[in-house]
């Protein structure tokens, strides 16, 4: 059995667990903990503390694992471990919370420094009325026009599929150009 993996990262509450949950064939093995206090408690009740883990079986010889990173900064020691050997990564950004854009950029730069693998950025929660327009987010996140920034609704499986496919197309394109 061969396995490959992709990493889903991004700031606290961006929708990483939801994203993996929408396509994984197993219930996401999530390490959620209730948030006991503080400002983060006001945003949601539980958070991922070590990682999320999802699986998509491709055929009898091949399995794709999806790893979600914890969003809270104090768990970032997990990031490098999770990123090892990844085929590519997805940076999730909550389009309704500009206060997290800076951190999203920081996470993106950190992952870029780990490995030269392809990545895409998902502008998540585009179904919400106060979501920033994708093109404004491109500038706010300082993404070069070559970087794929995709509108995303993590609760919608088709939307998640599109993001994963775009990442795979980038991986393929990179292999073809790299010879």
């Amino acid at each position: 059995m061969q396995t490959v993996k992709m990493v889903v990262t991004g700031p606290f509450s961006a929708g990483k667990t939801q994203f993996i949950g929408s396509v994984s064939e197993i219930d996401v093995v999530s390490t959620e903990r209730k948030i006991s206090q503080g400002t983060e408690r006001a945003i949601k009740e539980s958070t991922t503390v070590a990682m999320d883990f999802g699986r998509i079986t491709v055929d009898e010889d091949l399995v794709l694992y999806l790893f979600g990173t914890p969003g809270q900064k104090r768990f970032d020691f997990m990031w490098e471990i999770l990123s090892e050997g990844m085929l590519g990564f997805i940076v999730m950004v909550d389009s309704t919370r500009p206060e997290t854009f800076r951190e999203a950029r920081s996470i993106l730069e950190t992952f870029r420094a780990y490995a030269p693998t392809p990545y895409v950025v998902a502008a998540n929660k585009q179904d919400m009325p106060d979501a920033w327009p994708v093109e404004d987010m491109r500038h706010a996140l300082r993404l070069d026009s070559k970087v794929k920034l995709l509108p995303c609704v993590a609760t919608d499986r088709n939307s998640v599929k599109t993001v994963l496919l775009e990442l795979l197309y980038s991986i393929l394109a990179e292999m073809e150009s790299g010879g």
């Binding site: 055929d59 085929l87 420094a113």
Partner: protein
């Protein structure tokens, strides 16, 4: 239509950067600690600004810039009541009191002052109104934002934020190939020029810091300013060979491609 937030999380420098890169037209409204500021833009250039109840009539701006004497200013205030700024400007130029350049420079100075004041606000709600254009009866200018952005980044002192912006000093820099990114139009300090002179995809940020004898904090601050102004980009240093990443369970290129194609087929079928 949701360009809104708090300066705590999204600084004025970052907003200017966004407006610049997206060539936005509209008005940025910021509710500061004690007053509200309006800054209007056309195609990503600053056109007009006002703050609180400050008198921003052309006559008053020219007077404060010492282009009109107190006497001239008094006369205009008494007799020029019905005239708008554009009409007054023409009149003053025709009368030989000021030149067109005096007017433009004084307005630039005044608007720059307002933006500089904004840089000192750390708290306050902002929103960007696409529909709101600079007032018609006022003289609009076309100021490039790059200098303001660089200037704003110099205010950034917070170590933590810089660490966030530039997490790894082992990355390199290259000049942005964005059209319009032009170093010649930007007023850089001596320190900034020293950094610029080392920019090359072969040099890591850390190497540049060593070469210019700067601390981590100093180099991060300068690099951050250059990035925000859209002049440089972070890239992986050229010529570094990475530890072989075991991304694929097989070494064979064709097998790897086949594997990615299988993944694509499978995801499509979900």
């Amino acid at each position: 239509m949701a360009l809104r937030g708090n300066l705590r999380d999204f600084t004025v420098t970052q907003l200017l950067n966004l407006i610049n890169l997206a060539s936005k037209t509209g008005t940025l409204i910021v509710d500061g600690p004690s007053e509200t500021a309006h800054a209007s833009f056309r195609d990503g250039k600053l056109a007009y600004a006002r703050i609180g109840n400050e008198d921003n009539s052309l006559a008053s701006i020219l007077h404060r810039a010492n282009k009109l004497s107190a006497g001239q200013y008094q006369i205009i205030r008494q007799r020029g009541g019905q005239m708008n700024d554009k009409e007054l400007g023409l009149l003053l130029i025709n009368a030989g009191y000021v030149t067109q350049e005096d007017i433009i420079l004084s307005l630039h100075q005044y608007f720059t002052g307002i933006i500089q004041k904004l840089f000192t606000w750390v708290e306050g709600f902002f929103r960007f109104e696409n529909e709101m254009l600079p007032p018609d009866d006022r003289i609009n200018v076309r100021m490039d934002l790059e200098n303001l952005i660089i200037e704003g980044s110099r205010h950034l002192r917070e170590w933590e934020q810089l660490q966030d912006e530039i997490p790894s000093l082992d990355m390199a820099l290259k000049f942005a190939d964005r059209p319009g990114a032009n170093l010649r139009n930007v007023n850089l300090s001596v320190e900034e020029w020293r950094v610029v002179s080392y920019i090359n995809p072969k040099n890591t940020i850390r190497q540049i810091a060593n070469a210019t004898k700067m601390t981590d904090l100093e180099i991060r601050r300068i690099v951050y300013g250059l990035i925000q102004a859209g002049l440089v980009e972070i890239v992986r240093p050229e010529g570094t060979t990475l530890p072989p990443a075991r991304m694929f369970p097989t070494e064979d290129r064709e097998e790897q491609k086949s594997l990615v194609n299988r993944l694509i087929t499978r995801i499509r079928s979900l």
